[in-house]
Symmetry: C2
Subunit: 206 residues, 2 copies
């Protein structure tokens, strides 16, 4: 039992260390030495679990995408009017997207998507698609309740537009200015402007 615990602990240490190293440096600049050393094991221990660097990288990305997905699934929000609902979910979502871990994952996925095509698709399905579906359900409910009139554009397109307004500038600034962290007030403003604009465009005049 002690032995199998050791194995699990080492496996976890390897995956954890590999995640940190790959997300910090990208695939090519990361070295197996850095991973092995950070995990506190030898190279042979790493290669006993993964046949090569590529396989370890793929495992890391899969794992990080799953963790990202889980974070999005757990997002809570108020359940009041559509404005408050969108603002509270939008703000919680923005904090996830702008977290150092999520930004690092996005960076690496984008950088390596041409060499490892499946990671692009995996990331899309476990990130943007998850929040899209979540928001789309909210907009759908609001439309049924008469809070929104989305007949002219459709709920899917409205969801995409809202998420673009919510996320784009924030993510772009964080990706191109890695040292800067947007203030709370800035995040609130981004969310608020996106919600206000969606409602001005498609809110029912009650």
């Amino acid at each position: 039992m002690a032995k199998s615990n050791d194995i699990d602990e080492k496996s976890q240490a390897v995956l954890q260390a590999a995640s940190t190293v790959f997300l910090a440096h990208g695939f090519s600049a990361a070295t197996t030495d850095m991973i092995q050393s950070k995990a506190g094991v030898s190279k042979a221990t790493v290669y006993a679990r993964y046949p090569n660097k590529e396989a370890l990288f793929l495992a890391v990305i899969e794992h990080q995408c799953q963790a990202f997905d889980a974070q999005l699934q757990a997002l809570a929000h108020l359940n009041s009017g559509i404005a408050d609902t969108l603002e509270s979910l939008g703000r919680a979502y923005l904090d996830v997207v702008l977290s150092p871990e999520a930004l690092a994952l996005f960076r690496v996925v984008v950088a390596e998507a041409h060499r490892f095509p499946q990671i692009g698709r995996t990331f899309y399905l476990r990130g943007p698609k998850v929040i899209h579906d979540h928001v789309q359900r909210i907009l759908d409910t609001a439309a049924e309740k008469g809070e929104l009139d989305l007949r002219s554009i459709g709920v899917a397109a409205a969801t995409t537009l809202f998420l673009g307004m919510l996320r784009h500038e924030a993510q772009l600034e964080c990706l191109t200015h890695p040292q800067a962290q947007p203030s709370e007030a800035q995040r609130d403003a981004w969310v608020h402007q996106a919600v206000v604009t969606l409602l001005r465009a498609y809110g029912s005049k009650t």
Copy 2:
């Protein structure tokens, strides 16, 4: 004279080859051998111009950002009503942003911005900021003409929101699905939906 022409030709060949290689593979996976070989010169010729790989990379990114900037400055558009103006500029801009070269530049800048902080800022100023200023002038003019009412949100924020709607989903899909190319109809739809939504939210009821 022949000699100095040779030098210029080789310099250009080096920078051109380095651009192709760095944009295709990123900084770490690109090798000076690939660059030297593609340029048709020897390693010494490369190192006579740039002290090391980092300097060559920075020169490539600067050069590509300038080319990107020039492309954006040259964007033409109709000068009629605000809807047509935004649709024609938006579509031309989207084609630039979704071009393989622009996507590759974005990928590499995002991937390496933490190691070379200045390239993030340079890219932002020569890409997103340029189109932002351009669109902001258009919205400003439209507001003066009474076509838009941006008093509640401000022209800068409205510009940011519009560009987020226009660009975000398109860019995200292209970055995560490197093999796919959005159809003409898809691009038209993205642009149209962004314009329609902006006008529904802030168009004056004439």
